[in-house]
Assembly symmetry: C2
Homo-oligomer: 341 residues x 2
Amino acid sequence: MKTKKVTFADIAKYTGFSKTTISRYFNDPDSLTLENQQKIADALDALDYKENKVGRILASGRTEFIGLIIPNLYMHYYSEMLNQILATYETYGYKFLVFAGNEKADVERKYIEELMAYNIEGMIVLSPTIPSDELASYNVPVVGIEREDRYISSVNTDNYMGGVQAASLLRKSDCDILIHVNGNIPDTSPASGRIKGFVDVCEEYNVPYELILTHLGNTFEKNRNKIEEIVALLEKKYPDKKKGIFMPNDTHANVLLNYLFQKYGKLPETYQIIGFDNSPISREAVIPTSTVGQQISLIANEAMKILSDQMEERKKRRPAPLKEPVHKIIPPILIRRETTA
Amino acid sequence: MKTKKVTFADIAKYTGFSKTTISRYFNDPDSLTLENQQKIADALDALDYKENKVGRILASGRTEFIGLIIPNLYMHYYSEMLNQILATYETYGYKFLVFAGNEKADVERKYIEELMAYNIEGMIVLSPTIPSDELASYNVPVVGIEREDRYISSVNTDNYMGGVQAASLLRKSDCDILIHVNGNIPDTSPASGRIKGFVDVCEEYNVPYELILTHLGNTFEKNRNKIEEIVALLEKKYPDKKKGIFMPNDTHANVLLNYLFQKYGKLPETYQIIGFDNSPISREAVIPTSTVGQQISLIANEAMKILSDQMEERKKRRPAPLKEPVHKIIPPILIRRETTA
């Protein structure tokens, strides 16, 4: 920042090109031959040119900014996904303007409007708050992850397969009753596939099952209270049965596991637990917890790949916009640890 | 974004001012009377003017961007701090360009250089990687949190007091030997105060103690291996003694607690554990864990307050830069839970 500024005039003098040519190099490089582009690039190195990105942004619209909207950082899955997305900087060079909406739709909307005023080149949205048709209307490339995605591109885990894997593992662990706890998820959310996969396995093999569809809350205290209620209900309804419980994510599976440990000093033999995500907490738990693993690093990288392709396309002289959103499905990986037989 | 663009000419026509006056409103508002500023502001409302922030940025340098550099998102303390800092958007309106350096100094340095090219207005740095004199040389306001801060402003927990609190609690829990596990921290890091506070209490009351200063690693697997080694060492050296262990943070306290649970099916009576931070994992653990609480929300807000004051100062026509960095110390709060008597 403290080196003397190299101007377009300096670069023109050094290369023998006109200032207009130098300006075209920054604003419309494709209008120069590759050879001339290379000459100017070499001159920039030689002159130790520090670009003023803000100036370049104004000229070209290439801000290299991506808006990243996550629901919260309480859930370990989101911290880990954020970590993996930020790490793509080394590969792609895009910078992330990060916001955690914490379910405040109005603040999230205001934030996105602001991002638009900054000419962000694209968005990655994990938050389910704003419908995809509204996101698509902003007219920048958007990739959703594990949220309603009818009008935007997306990368999602194969949730149906995940539900099948969880139910199959619990069924083979000789459970008498299979329980799936989840939010009251709309059919348009990819996560609803888990419920369907779970139910299909139970029905195909005539295994008794129960769905407990209720919002567990976004703080530990709320989770804990809800999960205590659920355990009380299950122990009343199925006192001596072996209960196989498929939790909606590893954070909530960990709350259940710790509650049972506090109550019984161990995981009783009448309980089997499986979570979802393979987020760090599943390995770090008091007993390493079985889980349907999302390939978080792969999802982050696929999302950046799709977004980057679309952002690059828009920089061409004759961009060919996507006719339909791209939806990429990543298989889950069943991870058997110590909370299932 | 899709409304017809309102130009300076439109605003000039509506208000009767010249285009130069309109331009001055955006680029140097103080050069107009308050009355005329108000007239133009009203016109913008009436015309439903959508500002092009990039244009305004170039003119005024007010990007409203803050660079936020964290070490990693594996430690629950950093996720929680990030959450609290992002939440200040509602109060201050600044947008955060977030980067997790994961100890790669070169990538972190490259990222910061890029941020400078975008005219960020300030930085909040939690990562210890880059020395404070180098951060100060970028010539934008910087606030450090819990890192070496000789040449930059900072907000830190009173780490010495934290060490005193932890040692005092373990001493009163009738431990025979007090152990403090921590990284091999340089004296310039605020966290070194914990070691000093811990040692001072032990020496004042003639309590036997041991410092285990070693890097525990930044992944769960590395933590786990190191902590297993430490437990083996302690059980060999102090087989029947009651051991009071002060861990460097709640994430590592949780790894220790879970390891002991896996080994003994409970927290043996010969162990007392206290962590540091009061991050969510300390409440969510298999036994709620005692901890020296950092006031994370207060720290985040104080950091933004100091940074915002300095950023505002620089926007004045005759800014008065800080003569000395500001260092704010926040007291820790001892939280007694179930891992200490």
